[in-house]
């Protein structure tokens, strides 16, 4: 059994919460007491049917407002996979939540209401998922029951979306007609839509191939923590602990430490009290080297012939997440892999309109929930790759030094 993380996007009216409620219910991740509570609430509000959306509306303030205001994580499992859903709200002002939810997702699920067709919002969701390099996208055409399960409705939405998606980077797209409320094509195949021969949503989630999404070629090992037991039994033990961000590490491999450029060979790779013959993403391991070279937190192990170029000049797409706008000359703290430093905003090249993909070069600021292309100068060189190559070594967060709050998320275009 393996793990699939997916992010959902859609507005209150697209039936997203109902769909998640359906997935949880049909995979038995919902328990009797939770269902009873929801049935009771639905009845007391005079609904004709059980409102599955109530299952996922978490915080009381949200329940009162009837909207989801933050990323919520849900869990369910089938015999073949465990699923983690990052459930994000769809409103325009909540781009930051979608970016957050998409950052860890293997798959993005966008919902549209079959009666409405593609909206500005569904396009925006697809743009954000593609910016965050979520490798698999599912467009669920929901509420098919309300358009008499009409194939023409599905076809026209499919066509329109495919045309739009050519402008984006979406390696894998699946368009599925469903009714979250009635259960059509969610877990069980719909009897109403025999014209549709593709997979049900659950079948697709269970079988989508994610193994090749990770970079198994370019070795990237950000050192997190140096393990030195200082005990009699392990007097000379010195291990570099971290999580593999790319490539496959093996004992005997020649490695180079950055930024020093010193080289050595891997003496052994430890996973607790066992030695492993290989380490690959996303394993957390401890690497021992043959030579006693100076390596500490924030450094990176890679291969001598395949190393990122340390750089202090960073060109990145940034999603801004706080009320005070981002402006040139602003100074912020930056965290990239296990490195922390400071960054100066040198230039804001353009602001990207996530609805139209238009590049607005006149604005020199990024407001809350806006995304733009920004040039940064950092105090420490970043050991980074373009985000398209590696989502771990290509991403960073920006932190306001006064408040300590995370205010920006960055995806590196290139380093010069």
């Amino acid at each position: 059994m393996d793990l699939l993380r997916f992010a959902t996007a859609g507005s209150v009216d697209d039936g997203k919460s109902t769909l998640i409620g359906r997935l949880l219910l049909d995979s038995k991740a919902i328990f009797e007491d939770q269902l009873e509570a929801v049935e009771a609430t639905s009845q007391s509000r005079g609904y004709d049917y059980t409102d599955l959306a109530l299952l996922t509306d978490g915080l009381r303030s949200e329940r009162e407002q009837g909207i989801t205001i933050d990323v919520a994580y849900r869990y369910f499992a089938t015999p073949s996979r465990k699923f983690i859903i990052a459930d994000t709200p769809g409103h325009v002002q909540y781009t930051r939540n979608m970016v957050t939810g998409a950052s860890t997702a293997d798959l993005g699920l966008v919902l549209v209401d079959a009666r409405q067709g593609l909206t500005e919002q569904s396009r925006r969701h697809a743009v954000i998922l593609s910016l965050l390099r979520v490798p698999h996208l599912v467009l669920a055409v929901n509420k098919m029951d309300l358009v008499d399960y009409d194939q023409k409705v599905y076809d026209s939405i499919h066509e329109e979306f495919t045309a739009f998606a050519t402008k984006l980077n979406i390696p894998d797209l699946e368009v599925i007609p469903i009714s979250a409320l009635k259960g059509d094509n969610v877990v069980t195949r719909s009897e109403q839509m025999d014209w549709y021969s593709g997979p049900t949503l659950m079948h697709h989630l269970e079988n989508v191939h994610v193994a090749s999404d990770r970079d198994l070629v370019d070795v990237r090992f950000p050192v997190q923590y140096v393990i030195r037991p200082k005990s009699d039994a392990y007097h000379d033990y010195r291990g570099y602990a971290g999580r593999v961000a790319g490539g496959v590490l093996k004992p005997g491999d020649e490695v180079m430490a950055l930024p020093s450029g010193l080289t050595s060979r891997i003496a052994g790779i430890d996973l607790f009290d066992k030695e492993v013959s290989e380490a690959f993403p996303p394993m957390s391991v401890t690497v021992r080297l043959e030579d006693d070279i100076d390596v500490s937190r924030g450094d990176m192990l890679c291969r001598p012939q395949n190393a990122p170029k340390p750089s202090q000049d960073i060109d990145a797409m940034i999603c801004w997440m706080t009320n005070t706008p981002l402006s040139p000359r602003q100074k912020l703290a930056i965290k990239h892999t296990t490195r922390t430093g400071r960054a100066l905003v040198k230039d804001i090249q353009y602001r990207l309109d996530v609805n139209t993909l238009h590049r607005d070069q006149d604005t020199k600021q990024l407001g809350l929930n806006e995304i733009g292309r920004v040039q940064l100068r950092t105090t420490v060189p970043l050991l980074c790759d373009p985000y398209v190559k590696n989502r771990t070594t290509g991403s960073f967060i920006l932190i306001d030094e006064a408040t300590g709050v995370t205010v920006g998320a960055g995806m590196i275009n290139s380093n010069s």
């Binding site: 328990f31 997190q224 999580r243 990239h336 300590g404």
Partner: protein, 305 residues
């Protein structure tokens, strides 16, 4: 020495969850001045101990372990706690609710549950010792209010959680910046479910308190729950004690933690039982969560685990 290989470069869900949690433990140890692991003796905090052990092996866990003693803890749980602490050679700090009542840190008005009095006791212990990060065993699948909890959950100088003022958490880049007097709650098990925890305990063959397994116990009914007979649990009129075959699904204050009738005596049997269980673990056996639908949200705001 064992060599393990992975032919297809895929991790099982348990290996991936373990790798993520180990990453979190190391990140906190590297970035925070004074972390502490909150240990309840329950299965989740035991899994946390195991992950911390793995994260720093062959070195010892580089932070102490803090337990809040309600005074109403199950003796089996305290025994397991001591075995773990001794085996790993970590420092154990016990913050006693009893002592906190005596010192006037919290007020026992006879109506407030021990679980609730733990909040003040815990916050006081964190403040006195100056801990800047406290690992907790909370999981997002436990309760609706926890579904939005961050891995790094910021607490203000009053130890409070503000659901509207949590930091966005992207990729695996955790932001551990805090101001003087504030601290961070860290939840390394955020993405684990109850079943994951049990599968992991089974795979790792680690010791958990015996009360999780089916046993004979003298119990009585109260508010639809089966509570253990105990000197701390005086019977009310109409309540009668009888012997049943039971086990506990969660571990807490024994005056409030109910057991369920069960024949599950091994981990595979417990997993089978949970796989078909139709009631969430908290809903079934935790009196303190049943007082209101938003009970957990309220306690979290005050600084509960």
């Amino acid at each position: 020495m064992t060599i393990t290989t992975h032919a297809d470069y895929r991790l099982s869900q348990l290996d991936e969850l373990e790798a993520e949690s180990i990453h979190i433990f190391r990140e906190v140890a590297a970035e925070f001045e004074k972390p502490v692991l909150m240990f309840s003796g329950g299965k989740d905090s035991i899994v946390m101990m195991r992950l911390a052990e793995k994260a720093f092996y062959p070195a010892k866990i580089p932070f102490p372990v803090l337990q809040v003693d309600t005074g109403y803890d199950f003796p089996e749980v305290l025994a397991t706690r001591d075995n773990w602490v001794n085996r790993l050679g970590v420092r154990l700090i016990v913050a006693s609710v009893e002592q906190a009542i005596k010192d006037g840190v919290v007020v026992d008005d006879g109506k407030t549950s021990r679980n609730r009095l733990q909040i003040g006791t815990l916050l006081n212990a964190l403040e006195t010792e100056g801990f800047t990060a406290a690992f907790g065993g909370g999981r997002r699948d436990e309760e609706k209010a926890r579904a939005k909890e961050r891995v790094y959950s910021h607490r203000d100088e009053f130890g409070q959680w503000d659901p509207k003022n949590q930091r966005p958490e992207l990729w695996s880049l955790y932001n551990g910046r805090i101001h003087e007097g504030e601290h961070m709650r860290i939840f390394p098990l955020s993405n684990w479910t109850e079943l994951d925890i049990w599968h992991y305990i089974g795979r790792e063959e680690i010791e958990i308190p015996s009360i999780y397994f089916s046993h004979q116990r003298r119990v009585f009914q109260r508010d639809g729950m089966l509570l253990s007979e105990s000197e701390f649990n005086p019977l009310r009129p109409g309540e009668t004690v009888e012997e049943r075959t039971v086990r506990f699904r969660t571990v807490g204050d024994l005056t409030l933690t109910g057991c369920v009738e069960s024949e599950a005596a091994t981990i595979p049997e417990i997993i089978d039982e949970i796989a078909i269980a139709r009631v969430t673990e908290r809903g079934a056996t935790r009196g303190d969560d049943r007082f209101s639908e938003a009970a957990m949200e309220d306690r979290k705001k005050e600084g509960y685990f």
